[in-house]
């Protein structure tokens, strides 16, 4: 067993999840079975292989040029994702608060943050 119930508690803490004791046991079992399966990735030698975070961001990716797609490497194809840092329209204050579980009309309200 790679993942113990103690590990499950630690990860649940990182993820801000509360788990019942039954959920904890089940989670340890499920995570172990999934991790055992994903371990097969270690059969592959990935020395020198660059990580890929997103399609087309990998160095050397080839994109079809038959439909006017520019052939560029690396992140250059996403240059158009940049925009001017200009003030634009944003969500109306009142509308932004409409789904709030608790609000005083100006702010979102939450329980006590600092415990004494």
């Amino acid at each position: 067993m790679k993942v113990t119930e103690k590990d499950v508690l630690y990860v649940a803490d990182l993820a801000d999840l509360e788990l019942t004791p039954e959920e904890r046991t089940r989670m340890a079992r499920d995570l172990n079975s999934i991790l055992e399966y994903v371990d097969r990735l270690n059969e592959l030698d990935t020395t020198g292989v660059p990580p890929m975070a997103c399609p087309e961001l990998v160095e050397g990716a080839q994109v079809s040029d038959r439909y006017g797609v520019p052939e560029k490497k690396g992140t250059a194809r996403f240059e158009y994702a940049m925009r001017a840092d200009a003030l634009g329209k944003s969500l109306d204050h009142k509308v932004a608060l409409e789904n709030a579980p608790e609000s005083d009309g100006t702010f979102f309200q939450v329980p006590k943050v600092i415990e004494r």
């Binding site: 999840l17 995570l31 399966y37 097969r40 990735l41 079809s64 994702a81 925009r83 789904n99 579980p101």
Partner: protein
């Protein structure tokens, strides 16, 4: 009018020729949904007011004899992971049970601007995490073709709604196969476009490097028409590609003679379901014999590593994306917490279902100190190897054809207690998401029990035209 087989083009023609009004058609669909969807459960909610207003404006145009927009009066269903202003959007989760979005998803807005009538929001696995729609917090969907079986997932509601004639077409989302696999289980066409082809603004995020929006429909032509409407750059989604949108519908009927079809041996493994194998092989042979395509045996050697790669990348991204559900700005808040951190934990505990918790846990684990390199980084590197497989293949072939799913629709309850066996239902679809290439599932026959079988066609990035040409050529040859 036969609602079960009405196409997009057929609807628009009927409205243009004044055979039916958009209002009457929408009412017909609502009647059918009210009568028959109790059993199928494909819709989570219907948005009648909004639909009837859209239908009325189409009828006003038609009444004046004004030119009609391309989707005039087409009744459509939207997977409930796309936000709709003023219309409850749940993502199949209790945590968003009463969420009324203040804005519209771009893809939905584009459909409505083109005259579509959005009938309602369809059921799905919670946050699109699942392959059977059994992870919906609101109860499962039944497959219209066999009500003891699942419709696939996670866009099971959208696929079932189209198959049952509760909508002419639908939108779904695909992160690991969630459009194509349910399309194959329900016997309809499902398209996952190239990564970046369709804006995800307003799509509730699951795994951002893998999420796609695409159409489910009765025919390849309908999928092509719909993609033409929703595709294209959107300044509100920085990952939407600035790539021209060709006339996809014009590809329908163009010749495919001489196109090279790759058949990867890894997608036809020994011991696979014999009926699925035969259906896909027969479809490929038909394209060769009747349409003049060349068939090239190929290899995508890293295929056995796709599922482990996918479940590390997707869960890592999900653990980050779902951190936003904290009970502060919207969504469920636990009533009984004394402190802020207790409120976060309890709200998430009460709001998320078992599979969502499992994926958040796995993703958090894979990203945590000491495990990042071994799991997340390793998976990202293997993702590069999977992409290289496709680059090599597309040097030799124009398209790749495989079965969409290793089996036809399975029984409700059959896999719910075994997450790993559920994950393996996506074995033929996850790679296209990881690589970012487009894929379409097209019905290619039935099993002896009468269950639909789908074949998947994949092509180069932004080469949806090849999917439409080949897909339509197959439909034509098989008809």
């Amino acid at each position: 009018m036969d609602l079960n087989s009405l196409t997009v083009a057929g609807t628009v023609a009927a409205i243009r020729e004044r055979q039916v009004t958009a209002t009457a058609l929408a009412e017909d669909f609502y009647r059918k949904i009210a009568a028959e969807d109790r059993e199928i459960h494909s819709y989570l909610s219907v948005s009648k007011e909004r639909a009837m207003a859209a239908a009325a404006s189409v009828d006003a145009l038609a009444g004046r004899g004004d030119p009609l927009p391309p989707l005039a009066g087409v009744p459509m269903a939207i997977k409930d992971v796309m936000v709709t202003r003023g219309v409850c959007t749940t993502a199949g989760s209790k945590i968003l049970e009463n969420y009324i979005p203040p804005y519209d998803c771009t893809a939905v807005a584009r459909l409505e601007a083109a005259g579509a009538v959005v009938l309602g929001k369809t059921n799905c696995d919670e946050f699109a995490m699942g392959s059977s729609t059994e992870n919906s917090a609101y109860g499962p969907v039944r497959n219209p073709r066999d009500k003891t079986r699942v419709p696939g997932g996670s866009s099971g509601g959208s696929a079932a709604a189209v198959a049952a004639g509760f909508a002419v077409a639908a939108l779904g989302s695909d992160t690991g196969g969630s459009i194509r696999q349910p399309a194959s289980f329900c016997g309809v066409v499902g398209l996952m476009p190239t990564y970046g082809r369709v804006s995800r603004y307003g799509l509730i995020a699951f795994a951002s490097s893998l999420d796609h929006i695409g159409p489910l429909a009765h025919s390849v032509k309908d999928a092509a028409i719909l993609l033409g409407i929703i595709a294209g750059r959107d300044p509100l989604d920085s990952t939407s590609a600035d790539v021209p949108v060709p006339d996809y519908a014009a590809e329908i009927g163009k010749p495919v003679r001489g196109m090279r079809i790759g058949v990867p041996k890894e997608y036809f493994p020994e011991g696979m379901d014999a009926e699925v194998r035969t259906a896909a092989e027969d479809a490929i042979q038909l394209l060769a014999a009747k349409a003049g395509c060349g068939v090239v045996p190929i290899s995508l050697p890293h295929t056995p590593y796709a599922i482990p790669t996918y479940y590390l990348v997707a869960t890592a991204e999900a653990s980050s994306n779902l951190a936003r559900y904290d009970g502060v700005r919207y969504g469920h808040r636990s009533r009984e917490s004394a402190t802020l951190s207790e409120m976060y934990r309890r709200s998430r505990h009460e709001g998320f279902g078992a599979e969502v918790k499992r994926r958040i846990m796995l993703g958090t684990y894979a990203l945590s100190a000491g495990y990042y390199d071994a799991y997340y980084l390793k998976a990202q590197k293997v993702r590069t190897l999977l992409t290289r497989d496709f680059e090599e293949a597309f040097k030799q072939v124009d398209a790749i054809i495989t079965p969409t799913s290793p089996t036809p629709a399975f029984k409700l309850g059959e896999k719910v207690d075994d997450p790993l066996s559920m994950y393996l239902a996506d074995i033929f679809t996850v790679t296209a998401d990881l690589v970012g290439v487009p894929g379409i599932s097209i019905p290619c026959g039935n099993s002896r029990e009468g269950l639909p079988i789908g074949m998947q066609i994949m092509a180069r990035h932004f080469d949806e035209p090849t999917l439409f040409r080949l897909g339509h050529a197959y439909e034509h040859a098989a008809a």
